[in-house]
């Protein structure tokens, strides 16, 4: 496979994953703003931080956050490279680059997703239409994922697609935890105020984890359990542990295919082993913030090394 093709596949699926994650965050913001009449601006501000798109937003809007501007920035602003629309456009651009590596179904699903997004997001989305719009976009993205799962050969093409997906997902969950780490600290648990309840719900919603959490931990929302669930629980498909294991597994398939184990593999092994060997108490002892920072740093290092190992660029 061409290095360029691996690069295109990796970024196609990173951006597709990012589009889904961002739309999930918008959904979360909207739900929380609806259930709380006061301080909605604070909530959107926090959502912008979580999505990691705060700096560009502040430049464009002089740091003044309103519901409309926040939603529009994250949903469809072309100046925001991580807006849902920008992510879908970039994913589709990469898909066009690597079209020969994709099945017809995957390409059509991706192109269909792009065409739908262009149409649905051609103008500002009003509050009334927002849930429907977000739902349709996520469905379109899910169709790409489904077509990929159902029609692609399990070879290096698939491996690079999966590597992009799980790196992005781990990074996304890591960033949510990083922005909200303070509400998960034991002191916050002591407080148990309604404000924190909302914050905890934000976290779970933004990773589509409320149902899963309930199945595992019951109705009681405890910060320690949330941290355990999102960092270490291997059953949770958006947890750091799950995403990193998948990342390592897909690298291992590549190693098997190619008969070669370049340096990125050792980095991924180290990270995965760390996640497997810790329990949540040890993480809190070490400091949650530092721990998450550390994971995020490792993830970006792995990403850089993969680009070198597999000759993404010249």
């Amino acid at each position: 496979m061409l290095g360029k093709t691996a690069n295109g596949l990796y970024w196609m699926f990173r951006h597709l994953e990012r589009a889904e994650n961002t739309s999930r965050l918008i959904d979360t913001g909207q739900r929380i703003a609806l259930t709380r009449s006061s301080a909605a601006e604070d909530e959107w501000s926090s959502i912008l931080d979580t999505a990691g798109v705060r700096r560009g937003f502040d430049e464009k809007h002089d740091g003044v956050v309103s519901k409309e501007t926040a939603i529009d920035w994250m949903l469809r602003d072309p100046d925001n490279p991580s807006s849902v629309l920008s992510s879908i456009c970039t994913a589709r651009h990469n898909a066009r680059l690597v079209r020969t590596a994709l099945t017809h179904e995957v390409w059509e699903a991706m192109n269909g997703c792009f065409m739908a997004a262009k149409e649905i997001l051609a103008r500002k989305v009003g509050e009334r239409d927002l849930p429907d719009v977000l739902g349709r976009l996520r469905q379109r993205a899910a169709l790409v994922r489904g077509a990929t799962h159902g029609t692609m050969l399990r070879n290096d093409i698939y491996d690079f697609a999966r590597i992009g997906t799980f790196l992005e997902r781990a990074d996304n969950t890591g960033r949510i935890l990083d922005v909200k780490y303070y509400v998960l600290l034991p002191s916050a648990f002591e407080v148990g105020s309604s404000l924190d309840n909302v914050q905890w719900e934000t976290i779970l919603r933004s990773v589509s984890g409320r149902g899963g959490y309930r199945m595992v931990h019951g109705q009681q929302i405890r910060p320690r359990n949330i941290a355990q669930f999102l960092i270490l629980d291997k059953r949770m498909p958006r947890s750091l542990n799950f995403s990193c294991c998948k990342l390592r597994d897909n690298l291992a398939y590549l190693a098997h295919d190619y008969g070669d184990t370049p340096p990125s593999h050792a980095l991924a092994d180290t990270l995965t082993n760390q996640l497997a060997s810790h329990d949540v108490d040890a993480i809190f002892d070490k400091g949650l913030h530092e721990y998450i920072q550390n994971v995020l740093g490792s993830l970006s290092e792995i990403g850089r090394q993969i680009e070198i190992d597999y000759r993404f660029y010249e």
Partner: protein, 474 residues
């Protein structure tokens, strides 16, 4: 022009249904217009979703456009096709012999059949190719011959495309779309398949592998990139052949080979089907500013390390000034009279011809010798006084840049409009593959159709569309 001067491929000149269209007509009579209108929209949806688009030069991906597709097939009988394909094969054979000759001994010049300056002063002549022997002796691996029809038996070659002819993906996708939408049409008409083309192309390219090849030849398609107007076609062909689609920056010269950067290191390429023009192919040998090519590829080529398809320098054979010599070229190399007719052509570089052209400008079509895409041409009968005057000035200033031809009464075929069938002018580009094993012509080709009533310009860049082209079984 009177209506009956124009030959319609379905109805002839006398409104009599022609035999090849009988099967189609039987079907069409039983069809409901509103169902066909829905089908026409459905076809557009298919094209859009599949991304069968062309980019407008210099624009970003927001400007991907669809080439309009017309659902009414154009039908050619087996007998008509046999004659055409004999003529095409003869012509393509002659073109390859001509190319070999002018880059070697130039017998045709020595014999006085072509003036020496037509070669030496021609921009498309590449001195780098002199004395070079191409792998398998093939120069034009892929050729597109543009044909027009003016009557029952009258076909003319309008243009030879010997550089990097495009449009074959439309031939294939148009058929695929028709098969999906109107399967019943294909069970009641026996249409020769076109779907073998990618396989034939792959085999034909592999058969021209260079001496350095080890094992099965590795073929790749070289594209200028995602913003090129024909990018869709490049990726389509690479995909259908099961080969890599590369850009200049994926390639480098290593150990006397051209190699592509893969996830597992550099891997040599044996045959490069390039869709990049000669001048951008190698910044070391041609345009030094080119970022689309591979520095040093020409040196590898000359040393037998790679096959470039089509060979560099083939443009000399499809030049519009050389075109006027094609009947002589065919005769010189095949020893036979040309089966396919040339359109009579006045070379404006010759004073007598120029005088004639200037006197009769309003009845002629004037083309730039190096132009393409229907740009920079004058259609006399459709031109205003001001346009005629402007062209007169251009002709006087640079006569050598122009040729002129009579305005042909191009045949029409029916297209589907809101009110039913309506005749529109068409041309036809069949695709020809050349390898040491022989010449293979796919039965069919790209039919381009001028969608505007009365218009003679079929180019997609100027509002032309395409339609499926059927060659019936015997």
């Amino acid at each position: 022009m009177e209506n009956n001067e124009i030959f319609d491929e379905m109805w002839g000149r006398q409104q009599q249904l022609r035999e090849p269209y009988q099967g189609f007509q039987n079907w069409f009579e039983g069809e409901d217009l509103s169902r066909l209108r829905a089908k026409q929209r459905e076809a557009e949806e298919v094209f859009r979703l599949t991304g069968i688009t062309f980019n407008v030069y210099g624009k970003t991906e927001a400007e991907e456009r669809l080439i309009p597709f017309d659902i009414i097939p154009r039908v050619i009988s087996a007998r008509e096709w046999q004659k055409l394909s004999r003529g095409i094969e003869q012509r393509v054979r002659a073109i390859n012999a001509f190319l070999h000759d002018i880059y070697h001994r130039q017998e045709i010049v020595r014999a006085g059949r072509i003036p020496e300056e037509m070669i030496s002063r021609n921009e498309a002549f590449l001195p780098q190719m002199i004395g070079m022997s191409t792998p398998g002796g093939v120069y034009t691996h892929i050729v597109g011959i543009d044909l027009v029809r003016t009557g029952d038996e009258d076909f003319y070659v309008l243009e030879d495309n010997a550089r990097t002819p495009s449009g074959v993906s439309y031939m294939l996708e148009n058929r695929e779309t028709m098969l999906q939408m109107f399967p019943e049409l294909f069970s009641s008409n026996r249409v020769q398949p076109v779907s073998n083309y990618p396989r034939s192309l792959q085999r034909s390219l592999a058969n021209c592998a260079p001496p350095a090849t080890q094992g099965d030849p590795t073929v790749a398609v070289l594209t200028p990139g995602i913003y090129n107007s024909a990018y869709y076609e490049h990726s389509f062909l690479a995909d259908q052949m099961g080969v890599e689609l590369v850009e200049g920056h994926d390639l480098r010269v290593m150990d006397g080979r051209v190699a592509m950067r893969t996830t597992q290191g550099y891997k040599p390429i044996d045959v490069l089907y390039r869709r990049v023009d000669d001048e951008y192919l190698d910044p070391l040998n041609f345009n030094p500013d080119s970022a689309l090519g591979v520095p040093g590829i020409m040196d590898v080529y000359r040393a037998g390390g790679i096959t470039i398809a089509n060979a560099p320098g083939t443009g000399i054979a499809d030049d519009k000034a050389i075109y006027s010599y094609m009947p002589d070229i065919v005769e010189f190399y095949t020893g036979e009279k040309a089966i396919l007719q040339n359109v009579p052509t006045w070379r404006c570089s010759e004073p007598d011809s120029l005088a004639y052209v200037l006197d009769n400008l309003s009845e002629l079509v004037v083309k730039e010798v190096h132009g393409s895409g229907g740009y920079g041409m004058l259609i006399g009968p459709a031109a205003s006084k001001a346009e005629l005057a402007a062209f007169t000035r251009k002709l006087k200033a640079r006569p050598g840049h122009y040729i002129a031809q009579p305005t042909l009464a191009l045949s029409t075929v029916p297209i589907f409009t809101r009110s039913g069938l309506a005749p529109r002018h068409v041309d036809l580009r069949p695709f020809v593959l050349v390898s040491p094993e022989g010449i293979e012509i796919t039965p069919g080709g790209l039919t381009r159709v001028a969608l505007k009533k009365g218009s003679l310009v079929v180019n997609s860049s100027q509002g032309g569309g395409t339609k499926d082209t059927w060659v019936l079984e015997d």
